[in-house]
Symmetry: C2
Subunit: 359 residues, 2 copies
C-alpha cells in the first residue's frame, strides 16, 4: 500500500477509548477519522470527523463505511471477523487483517497458535462441556482458571478454581456448559510484563517491555523499566516480534507474559491492537503507540521509540475521575477517555508520571 497523504480518511471499527486515542493522534498527523460503532455518542466518535452508528453485522453500513475510508483499522479484538471481511470485500484495506482478530478472539486458538510458533504459555485444556471440568482440573494439578473462550476483558468471564468449594464448582460447571471455555493452569508468577511491538511492511519496532500490576483482573499500573533482566526483556520482545510476523500483523500488537521465578516467560494474552500497558509511550518515548499504529496503518515509516525517562502509568477507575481536576497537573500527563458517567471499576482515564531518580 502507498503511504497515505495527509487529509486521507482512516476508518476505525470501534468507538471506545483506544479508538479515541488513535483518533487524536491520527488528527495530529493530518488524517480525518471515521468511526464505525454500534453505540451512540462514543468516546472516539466525539473526536472524529465522521461517525456512523450501526451494528457490526450491518453489511450495508459496513460497505458504505469502507468506501468512505482510505484504510480501516480496529480498536479492539471483539470486532466480529465478519465485519472486517465485509470491509475487505468492499475493496478497502484493513490493517491489521482478519487473521490477528481470528487468532485473538478465542483463547483456545490463541494459546494453540502461540505454542505452534514456539511461544510457551501455561498449560490449558479445552472444555466441550462442564462435565469435563473435573478431569481437566485434575490434569492441571487440581487448580486453574476457567475462562470463556471468547469475549472476556478486565477479568470478566473468569472463575478462579483453587480451593475446593461446592458453590464455585457449580458456577464453573454451569459456565462451561453454557459457553465454550478453556481451563488454564495456575502460573505462580513473580511479576507480569508485556511487550508492545509495531509492525509495518518495512519491519518491526518494539517498545521496552513494561511491568504490569493487576488488581482483580484490571490493570492498575504499568512501570518502565520493568524489574527484570535484559535477557527477560529481550525474550519478551523477540516473542512479540515473532508473533507479529506470524500473524502478518500491520500495526501495534501487545503480548502479556508471566515472569516465572526462574526467569522463564509464559505468554498469557495477546491483544492485536494498541494496549493499556503501552499508555506510557506517548509521553515517555519519541513516538508513542498510537502514532506508531497510525503510521503503520497509513504506510508511513515507523518512528524511533527511544525512552526519555523512567515512567509509571496509573489507570483511573470510575469515580476516581472526580478528583482529577485538582489531583494532576501538567507534569503528570492525564488522558481522559470521555466516557459518560463514571462506572465503578471501569477505566475512565490514566495518568503518566515521570520518575526522576535521585541518586
Amino acid at each position: 500500500m502507498k503511504a497515505l497523504a495527509p487529509g486521507s480518511v482512516i476508518g476505525i471499527l470501534g468507538g471506545g477509548q483506544l479508538g479515541r486515542m488513535l483518533a487524536l493522534e491520527a488528527a495530529r498527523l493530518g488524517f480525518d477519522v471515521h468511526i464505525f460503532c454500534p453505540e451512540p455518542d462514543s468516546p472516539a466518535g466525539r473526536v472524529s470527523a465522521r461517525q456512523v452508528m450501526a451494528d457490526y453485522d450491518n453489511l450495508e453500513a459496513l460497505t458504505v463505511f469502507a468506501r468512505d475510508c482510505d484504510v480501516v483499522t480496529y480498536e479492539f479484538e471483539n470486532v466480529p471477523v465478519m465485519a472486517v471481511e465485509a470491509v475487505i470485500d468492499a475493496g478497502t484495506h484493513v490493517r491489521p487483517g482478519a487473521k490477528s482478530l481470528q487468532v485473538s478472539q478465542d483463547r483456545l486458538t490463541e494459546k494453540t497458535f502461540l505454542n505452534e510458533i514456539g511461544i510457551p504459555t501455561v498449560a490449558f485444556r479445552a472444555l466441550e462441556t462442564g462435565d469435563h471440568l473435573p478431569e481437566a482440573l485434575n490434569e492441571l494439578g487440581g487448580a486453574g482458571i476457567l475462562k470463556t473462550r471468547r469475549a472476556g476483558y478486565d477479568g470478566k468471564g473468569q472463575i478462579l478454581l483453587r480451593d475446593p468449594d461446592p458453590d464455585t464448582s457449580a458456577r464453573a460447571k454451569a459456565l462451561a456448559s453454557e459457553v465454550p471455555c478453556i481451563l488454564e493452569a495456575f502460573a505462580p508468577f513473580e511479576r507480569e510484563i508485556s511487550a508492545v511491538v509495531t509492525r509495518s511492511e518495512a519491519g518491526t519496532v518494539a517498545f521496552e517491555p513494561s511491568e504490569n500490576d493487576h488488581d482483580n483482573g484490571i490493570l492498575r499500573c504499568s512501570s518502565v523499566p520493568a524489574n527484570t533482566t535484559d535477557e527477560v526483556r529481550s525474550v519478551a520482545i523477540d516473542a512479540g516480534t515473532r508473533l507479529a510476523e506470524a500473524l502478518d500483523h500491520i500495526g501495534v500488537l501487545a503480548l502479556e507474559f508471566f515472569v516465572m521465578p526462574g526467569g522463564d516467560l509464559l505468554a498469557n494474552e495477546l491483544a492485536p491492537r494498541v494496549h493499556n500497558s503501552g499508555h506510557w509511550t506517548p509521553d515517555a518515548c519519541d513516538t508513542g503507540q498510537f502514532e506508531q499504529h497510525i503510521r503503520a496503518v497509513a504506510g508511513w515509516p515507523l518512528g524511533p521509540v527511544t525512552r526519555r525517562f523512567d515512567v509509571v502509568m496509573e489507570n483511573i477507575l470510575g469515580p476516581e475521575i472526580e478528583a482529577v481536576p485538582n489531583a494532576y497537573n501538567g507534569a503528570d500527563r492525564l488522558v481522559s477517555y470521555g466516557k459518560r458517567g463514571a462506572p465503578d471499576r471501569r477505566k475512565v482515564a490514566h495518568v503518566t508520571k515521570r520518575i526522576t531518580l535521585v541518586r
Copy 2:
C-alpha cells in the same frame, strides 16, 4: 468560576488550526468541544464533539451555542467583540473576555494600551486619511510600515515605505484613505522574540521566550532558548505578565517583541490566544500552551512549564506538506492542521525538532 468536571463542554469561537489544537488537548483532558465557525468542514470541527456553522453576527445561533457550553473561549483575535458579548449575554463565561479582543483587534488601540501600561513599542501615527501620510512619514523619519488598523495577519494589509517610489506611495495613500490605518516607525531590530504566558485566576505562568524568524511576514521558525541574555528574557516575560494582568486576561496570551541592538525590547504585536511561536511547548515542556489554555479556561490549576530540551519549531507552508509522510519521523513531532488543499504560503502544519547539543 468552579473547576469544570471532565465531561463538561468547552465552546470555541473559530474553527482553524489553533481551535483544532485546543480541541485535541481539551479532549485529552476529558472535555467535549463545541465549535462555532462560519465555514463548513473546519479543521477544528473535524476533531470536535459538536459544531455549528453560523456567522459571527447570528445572535440566535450564538445564544443556542452559549447555552450548550459550560465555558467559551476563542481561537483568534478577529472574532467580533459582538459575538463574545452575545455569548456572555446568554449567561456563559467567555475566557479570555471581551477586553483582550477589543484591545488586540485594532493596532492603534493595542499600541496605545501597551504604552499606557509602560510597555514600549515603536513610534506610530494614526492616519485619518491618506492625505496625512506624507506628514506622518516625515515625523517618523521618512520611513515606516503602513498597516491597516484591523484584520491583518501573516503580513497581509501592510505596505513597506522605505525608499521613495511613486507607485508604492500611491498604493499606500489609497489604502490609508480606504480603511483606518496606522503608520509604524521602522525598528532596526537584531532579532525577534515572543513571550507566551498563561494567566488563571490564581496567577500567571510564563513559557521561556522563543526567538522567531519571519519571512515576508510569515513565521518560519521559533527556537528555544532565544539567543539573548537572561535579562532580555526576563523583561519580555515581565511585560507579557503585566499585559495579561492589565487585560484581566484568562488563558494564553502572546506578546511579540523586537530586540534592539542595545538589548531594549519594543513590543510589536499582541495575540490574545495561543500562538504560533508557542507551538514548541507541547513537545518540549511539561505542560504545553494548548493544555495550559484549556486548564485556565476550565478553572483547573495551571501546570509547570519546565523545558526538557532545546528545540526548533518549523512551520510547513502549502505544498511542502506533500513531503511530510516520509520527511518526518516520530522523533520530530509533526502537527498537521487538517486544512483542505494546500494553499501556497499558508501554514498547513509544523514540526518540532529536538536539538541535542554535542559538546
